[in-house]
Subunit: 258 residues, 2 copies
Amino acid sequence: MADANDPRARLELLELLWRGGQRPSRGPKPKLTLDQIAQAAISLADAEGLDALSMQRVATELGYTTMSLYRYVSGKDQLVELMTDKAAGDPPPYTGDPADWRAELEAWVHALWELYLRHPWTLRAQLSTPPAGPHQLAWFEAALRPLTRAGLTGGDAISATLLLLAAVRQFAGFAVDMTAGRARAGLTTEESEAGYDAALREFVDPDRYPALTALIGDGVFQPTGLPDSGIGLDLDFGVHRVLDGIESYVRARREQGP
Amino acid sequence: MADANDPRARLELLELLWRGGQRPSRGPKPKLTLDQIAQAAISLADAEGLDALSMQRVATELGYTTMSLYRYVSGKDQLVELMTDKAAGDPPPYTGDPADWRAELEAWVHALWELYLRHPWTLRAQLSTPPAGPHQLAWFEAALRPLTRAGLTGGDAISATLLLLAAVRQFAGFAVDMTAGRARAGLTTEESEAGYDAALREFVDPDRYPALTALIGDGVFQPTGLPDSGIGLDLDFGVHRVLDGIESYVRARREQGP
DNA sequence: TAAAACTGTGTATCACTTACACAAAACAGT
DNA sequence: ACTGTTTTGTGTAAGTGATACACAGTTTTA
C-alpha cells in the first residue's frame, strides 16, 4: 500500500474514488466493502464530529477489529478523503427556468449550504488534491453549467465557481463553528449571542475600533432569534453581490468585446 | 481552571486575549509568560503545521516540562485560540487615497492573503467564538472603515466584511491545501498540476460532466507556472466582482432611497 | 494439488493530552 | 520576623489513538 509520502498515494486515491476499490480475485472474499466503511464513518462524523472519528470506533461500529479497516484504506487520512466525496453526493437537479442562470446558482448555493450543515466535518477535512472525486466534480459541474450559460468562459468560469464555493464554505463554517462553540460552552443560542455582544461592549475601545464601536452601538450584535445567528442571511447578501458582480462583468465584456 | 464545557471558559479566554493573563501576586514568580508560550507555539506551527503542534514539543522548545504549560493555558484548544489572535497581528495601515475605498479593501484583502500564507494553520484552527480577540477585531475594523465610507450601514457592512473575509480565507485555504498536498506527495508544482490535469482527462466522462470536459479541452487545467497555481489571480477576479457588486448595491440604494 | 495472494486478527509501539499530587517559592497579614 | 496561603514547576500515571508487523485461515490460479 502506497505510503502517504509517495506520488502513488494520489493514484491509489483516484482509483478508490472512481472505481471503488476493486479487489483481486485471489484470497478470501472480503466481508466488508469500502462503501460500508465510508458510510459508517460518515454516520459517526455526522453524529459526533471529526474529532470523535477514530478507526477504532468505526471498526467497532461495524463489528470488526480496528486493523481490518486497513485492508480497505491506507489510513485515516485516506478514509476521510473518501468520506468527503461520498458525503457530497450528487447535487439536486435544477428544475427551474433553464435560462435563469442566477436562480440556478442560487439554488446551487442553497443546496451546498444545506450539505455543509448536514455534514459539517467535511469543512475540516484535509484534502490532498483539488477536487477530484466524482461527487466533488459533479458539484463543480453543476455550477459551471449556469456560469457558462451566463457568458463566462474558461478560467473566468472556474474563478467564479471558486468564489461561490468559497462563500458557501466559509459562511457554513462560520455557522458550524458558532454552533459547536456554543454547544461546548453549554449555552443557549440567545445566551451565546448576548455574551458576545456583552464581550464586545466590555473590551472594544472606541478610539481603537471606531467603526466597530458604532455598529455595536447600533445593536447589530444583539441576539436576533434568527437561525445560525443570521449567517444564512449574510450569505444571501453576499451571493446577491457576487451575482451582480458577475452579471455586470459579463455585460461589460459583451459590450466592449474581449 | 474552567473546564471547556463551561461558560466560564469563554470569560477566561477573553481575559487572556485582552489582559494577557495577569498573575496573582502570591506564589513563585512565573518563569514563563503567556506570550512566550504562544510565540513558541506559533513558530512551531508555522514551521511544521498544526498537526505537529503538541504541548510536549512546545514545552521542549522552551526548555520546560509539558505540564508547566498548563499553568498558563487550560489546554491545547485554548492555546490555539490565543495563537490565532496573536498571529493575526495588526493589519498594516492603509496609506493610499482615503476616499478610494475600493483600493483600501483591495489592500486589506492582499494583506490578509499574505497573513494566511504566512500562518496557514490559522485557517484550520477551531475557534469557540466569533472573532473576539484584539487583533481579530482590528482586522475587522480595518475592513469596516472603508465599507462604511463606501456607504454601507449596519448589518450590510458586516455581511460585506464576512464576504470578503470568506473569499480570502477560502482561496488561501485552497492554495495552502494544494501546496501541502503537493509537498506530502513529494511532487514538484509542475508535476502536481500535470497530474491533476491527467487525472481529469482520464476519469471525467464527457456525458456526465459536459461543461467540465469543455474546460479541460480548453487546457484550463494545464500547468501554468503561476505561483499557487494561479489561485491568487482567481481571488483577484473574485474580489473585483464582489467590489463591483457592493458598489452597484450602494449606488442603487442611494438612488432609490432606503 | 500445490503455490500464491489476500483477509481478518492479535500484539505491540509510539506519541499525545491531561489529571493529580508534591515540594519549593513568594507573598499577606499578623 | 513568622506562619499560613497561594502559586509554580515537576514527576507520575492513566487513557486514547494510529498504525506496523506477523500469523493463521481462505480462495484462486497454474
